[in-house]
Symmetry: D3
């Protein structure tokens, strides 16, 4: 299947693509420690890979922009290598991207985010830029909508960072991110953080090293490419359905890159040939 | 029971209070439409009332600052009277407050928030200001932790604004906010907003008038002061417990304003006399 | 008489009010020490009370917004409890308020200010926002225009903060702000501040504790509700006349809430029935 | 007599001067229309000339920096040639100047301002930068302290811009600014501005062309160099006295550039030889 | 040879690397049109590839951070697909990166830039951040120092964007960026831009489409991997020498990843085994 | 010949001038040390003098605004007297000037700059403000285009600050800037700066005192008014030609202030009488 990936296109190709494109997918990642077994680019790579697969599903109505490869990661700052943007900086980068793409005629955007620490900032960016620039912006955590697969494959009570979920996703989407020979469970420390996690009466900030000595939580050794596949594909199904409805694409015939029938032989994401 | 309410104090009284105070509670509200049956100051008033009751529970370790009586309410802008701060402005106000109070020796803060639309901004303010000012900041939605009471008393599938929950809270905390003779259910309209609510694969911005013609959701006529009491008191219990632990107040003997025993005759929130 | 007080209204009531409203009165206060005999919310409360009375006079052409309950008070920072906004923050708050209210169709604004330390910032806000937002903005110190009453009732050479003027105003407008049993004259200290007061060849900044040990100036024990009434009512007369002219309301017949005659039986502020 | 004028000095000369300098005088002007008879650089030139004369009086304790030759002049924008800074920009320029000079060891500053429209901004700059940079800042309107001479020589009820006061000052300090053959009285128009001038119950913004058709107020043809001398010299006396006290210079012996006695033969500003 | 590439490392690996690392190389690219024959990610990819090769030369004293994959490209905005940052945004991103890396103990930085349009912004970022953060920052255009090779291999009088130089570099460093079957010379249009190019009496802004109809300048069909190699390797020699001197690395023995001798068997970049 | 110099004009004169003016020349200088033999205002004065002469050449199509008399000079901060703007501040000042002048109907601007340290900032200001304000902005280093004269009269390998070039320019344009009896060659120190000068593989920041003990470079004693004249006049020729073409003035007949023929007797800059 085809896909519009802006990094790989020339301007005449982009010009052609803009005839059908209705949505720009902006992958939003981070550069931060992911324990002893994952590379620090994990979130940037996973956001990119998810964006590509989603663009494939929505082809030829979506294009993928270059990745925002830094995020808001100050809670990981005490682990070597972490680089973090101020929330204001991330919003400025997204504003500049949306302004540039609006100039090319795109008016709908999805911030597809692989890093939990970005969610509040993306929420504000979504609300502010929608109003300020008169565009329509959505945002999503990459695989949060895979509710069934997550229930089935993720068993740790505390998970969400370099855990069996994230490592599984990586094993399916970008296995080079994972050192299989170094997989470790989270080395959890006790502390105030327990009282500040989501679901508690109050929330607050804590440093990741207060929670985990090795930088992971959850149970990475339980990860598998199979679980990753289940999570990723369920999320892609969910995202595709939701965006098809939001963009009024449901049932639309599109040119099919498999069978090459002109005029469109298939409905979106469902090759008929 | 006593309570430290900054608006009602002189500076010598504040000076005295600072001998025991460990936490400043900053009530954060909004000024926005609340349908035909609630006054627009609803969130500012409820945040204030909850803060006062929480300060009573934590006395003499907490004080209540003046209320931030505006919030981030752009989604209500098309209903007459709504006034909204930019997220950046709200953060500036909170920064200035925290800086001022830190100068008086306070190093722990709770943003006690009555308006859902403020949560992302408070999350960023909490994380940024904690780091920037070297203080400890918590934030909480006023009654979100009353999980049992909410389950028992709130039956609408879509609730959270001028609904049976909020009206019940007001009937218990500040009944003048409610026009009992005008109570209406949410006059729900269909639209894109359904696909963008929390829990969906993607989130996004919508205007409140796209969701409800009268500005409410839920089922306000089901509200009661009794339900409000259950919700509020459960939330206060939860918040008190959580903050007592975070501030290391558990089991601490405090001077008792009932029995006046010097040296302290009671544990926090539990008068023994 | 009636009054449009935004905090007490529902959106349908605001919608109705906007049919006649020509002016939004924005009360601007402060949260700062006021010596041993006044509560720290003094300026916020007085700004609110003056705004309500002025709105009554201008009814149904004016509405009162929620109060800006913090101001620029860094010179009071060394007295416990004072909370201060940066001038930039105060301007941001006012900008957001004016933008919000302009969206509802209001184009004229009065910043009614009870705190001297805000005046320069309000001057800049007035000039900048008028130009930037294409609205008409006025600002006023609450009772500065009561020139006769001030001459008659204020005798201290140095006055203006928790003095006989301010305490008198409070005794008339909001007596709960005053501890009558603790009234003190300003406990004046000598220092550079004398050379920097208004009227000197140069101006400059000084901390309030360099001028007064107890945080007051003037002679609070001389205050009376009677003096407060004279000051407040003269100022309200002055403000009403000035605004009626600026808004072209002079001689306008308005619906009368006393006699209920339809079509209007009276001129502004002067019930004929 | 000597004078330290930074524009005319080399760095070794500045280095030498810093041995005695305690105050940097920053002339603050404007570039704006001054009616048919004065050049638009009027305020910048007058601020510079006053600063030089004041530095002479305070020699060797003061130096004059380059002039801030733009100010806040948006109310003159509709007369050709006017150039205006935003208040924020003016504050940034002053901050950068103070930071630079503090690096050279100067900790006290006078903003000597010739343009009324700058006063609010200078007030804020003074208060904010004093706190932010831990320096001591004063500000003054150039000749406002010449109360006696102003009473004697200025008779127009409405004056303050290209009027008999300002033209007189220019005739004494910088006569090339004035076209004697074009002197005109203010060509006053009626309008809202009368209700917004200082001393009225409310203040507000108006454009200068609403007040005067030719851009002047007052009665320029009454101006004289003699009046200018009286105003300027009285103001310089006032400023010198005030600053000598603030800087603890009163009675200090200083090296005398007339008689060259080493060790100092005179008191400040009073050559004994 | 080894190389420290932050995207490919885990935190324990980074921790280990920080024992020797003295320089962080920050690749700075752009996302902009590059004519019909190059992909829009060209500058981001070339900056990354050059950084990797330079880090190899400087191993184990340098590490490569994730790439800044957007730049200042407004002059290309009218060609489809171009995304541009405001200069202020780019500076914010770089500030956040430098702050983060300084926290890990790195104090020297190289902005290695592949896009001419970024140079002024990088100059300001270098000067401002050096001062503000007390670090040492250098910046360089990737291959500008290859003076001999450029003279030999680049013959177009007007070159610098998707020309024989840039295509040659890509053919050597990242050939997938180039569509060999679509190589075109710049389709130059006449216009004001000629008078605004570097070397003219005045400089100024022009849009790229005013200069070239196909988005290229120079003579891409003359490009070759061989020319690219000559340019790139000469530039790497120059950069390595310059940085070795600036970092005092010249002649330093380093651990050799070829022969594994402990204690170091070679001088920088020159394996002896 | 005539010249439009805004500082010397009244508003009716400016109004008249705007009938022909097509370009505002904004002189941009600095206030910084210039060694033992030049006054610190050097760059501000030279920028002003060059602007006046250029305006004469372009009369009646150009006017000169007041001078920006501070620049970006942090590298000179350790020599007494230097005052520096942040780059952001300089851009704000230029934005405010351009906005003001655009209001008067001017749409083309030249930043005529005498200080190398401003160039990057002016480049960004030019690109950003052109786009943001929809005007046309050029910028130029005052005498950089005098390539022949520079080659003839400047022999030092390292020059550009208080050297034979700059002193020569001053001797021709503003001799009071120079102390002929104190002329010194640059007292060069060795250090890292050599590796960071333009033309090296990497650029970076260094403090001027690291390069020169007396604050000069080059060979000031070789300076002469004659060399200055050659440099200045060649640059004026270059700038006049370039701007005449950019503004489409070439061959235009203009009113001649020498011979007073109505209707124009001469071509631009070339009096025929």
């Amino acid at each position: 299947m085809g896909m519009f990936l802006l990094t790989e296109m020339t301007w005449p190709e982009v010009k052609q693509a803009l005839n059908t494109v209705k949505l720009a997918i902006i992958p939003v990642g981070a550069h931060e420690q992911h324990g002893p077994h994952m590379k620090e680019s994990c979130d940037a790579v996973l956001a990119t890979e998810m964006s590509k697969r989603l663009a494939e599903r929505l082809h030829p109505f979506a294009l993928v922009t270059p990745t925002v490869n830094f995020g808001v990661s100050h809670h990981h700052a005490n682990f070597p290598g972490t680089i973090s943007l101020q929330p204001e900086t991330l919003i400025c980068v997204l504003r500049d991207m949306v302004v540039s793409l609006k100039h090319h005629g795109i008016s709908r955007f999805l911030f597809l985010n692989a890093h939990g620490g970005n969610q509040s900032t993306l929420s504000i960016a979504c609300h502010s830029l929608t109003r300020e620039l008169n565009v329509e912006i959505y945002y999503a955590k990459t695989t949060a909508s895979a509710k069934n697969a997550l229930k089935r494959h993720v068993k740790s009570p505390l998970y969400g960072h370099s855990c069996e979920r994230e490592v599984s996703e990586a094993l399916y989407l970008a296995p080079h991110l994972v050192h299989m020979d170094r997989l470790e469970k989270g080395d959890i420390r006790e502390g105030k953080w327990r009282k500040l996690r989501p679901g508690n009466p109050v929330q607050g900030t804590y440093s990741y090293e207060d929670m985990t000595a090795n930088g992971c939580i959850g149970d990475a050794p339980k990860a598998s490419a199979e679980a990753g596949k289940a999570i990723v594909e369920e999320a892609l199904d969910q995202l595709t359905t939701s965006l098809s409805e939001l963009l009024n694409l449901t049932g639309k015939k599109v040119p099919c890159s498999n069978c090459k029938k002109s005029g469109g032989c298939k409905e979106l994401s469902t090759c008929l040939s």
